[in-house]
């Protein structure tokens, strides 16, 4: 039986961000941009969506005069990712 995939995660960039954050403690916007190859604008929008859903925690600070955005996956995000992968398996089988 096919289960609905979480629409928030079933998009390339958001899934890429979540997969990256799952493997690290926390990551800077610069790192996420370099690893995904996304544009700043697009990545920023997708990070906001994940943050609003509570899947990631975004901390904005300043490093000298430069703004800095650090992202960290939340427990809710880990659960959502886990469910997404479980549901994905039903399609692959």
């Amino acid at each position: 039986m096919f289960k609905d995939l979480d629409p928030l995660l079933h998009s390339q960039l958001r899934l890429a961000v979540m997969s990256l954050l799952l493997g690290v403690e926390e990551a800077d916007f610069v790192y996420l941009k370099a690893q995904t190859g996304a544009t700043s604008g697009n990545l920023s929008v997708q990070i906001d969506k994940l943050n609003e859903a509570g899947y990631i925690q975004v901390t904005k600070t300043f490093q000298g005069k430069m703004p800095r955005t650090v992202c960290k996956i939340t427990a809710k995000g880990v659960n959502a990712f886990d469910n997404y992968v479980k549901n994905l398996k039903t399609y692959i089988k």
């Binding site: 390339q12 899934l15 990256l20 954050l21 690290v24 926390e26 790192y31 690893q35 490093q63």
Partner: protein, 225 residues
């Protein structure tokens, strides 16, 4: 399929289940293989500091001997470790602030070396406490180098296994060998054994810390993270 997806920049689009798996696999792989630039700098820093202090200690023994002063004054060179620790702490804070990614392994490795530092301080307190209360210095002080090297080997072995980086494993082996050699130095050279211990310590710090640190920095530079 994986290559095809990442040939172009990731866009915010819907995609198939197979592509979804490819994204997860690719990104987890990327996150796993990241090594921060300058990751080996701490190893180089501590390797140089300890090797330098050990060699200066040997040099001071000869200088004090020439001046007919008590040779145990030479051990005061190890107070240099206090400003060295402050320097390391500041370097760590700067690295923490500027790191663009912090992995779970980075956190575990930091904890291992923090535990190493705490263990060393407690060990030194035990050695100095016992030697002063029992008025027995030489035998207790001869244990400092081999035991600290033994604790260092444990930290380096865990780091090697976590990072899956062979030079750290070589470093741990060097420390274990050095620890045994330090004990042997006392048996073979008796009174001059401590001097030989410092020479062994300096060599082991270069093999076990400076060289792996340099290799790790080179690897990090090549991975462009």
């Amino acid at each position: 399929m994986r290559r095809k997806i990442f040939q172009s920049k990731i866009m915010e689009t819907k995609f198939t289940e197979q592509e979804s798996l490819a994204v997860i696999s690719e990104m987890i792989d990327r996150a796993r293989n990241n090594i921060q630039k300058g990751a080996g700098t701490f190893m180089i820093y501590w390797g140089c500091m300890v090797a330098l202090a050990a060699l200066l200690n040997i040099a001071l023994v000869f200088i004090l001997h020439g001046m007919s002063l008590p040779l145990n004054y030479s051990f005061n060179i190890w107070w240099i470790m206090l400003p060295a620790w402050i320097g390391s702490f500041m370097l760590h804070r700067k690295k923490d602030r500027t790191a663009i990614v912090k992995s779970h392994i980075d956190n575990i490795i930091s904890s291992v070396w923090r535990a190493f530092g705490i263990s060393n301080v407690i060990f030194l307190l035990i050695i100095f406490g016992l030697s002063y209360s029992l008025k027995e210095y030489n035998h207790f002080f001869q244990l400092i180098n081999p035991i600290i090297m033994l604790i260092t080997a444990v930290g380096e072995y865990i780091t090697a296994k976590l990072c899956r980086f062979r030079p750290f494993l070589n470093g741990a082996i060097a420390m274990w060998t050095g620890s045994l050699a330090c004990a042997l130095a006392i048996i073979l050279f008796r009174g001059n054994g401590v001097l030989v211990q410092f020479l062994i310590l300096a060599i082991c710090m270069i093999i076990g810390f400076v060289i792996p640190g340099y290799k790790l920095n080179k690897l990090a530079k090549n991975t462009h993270v």
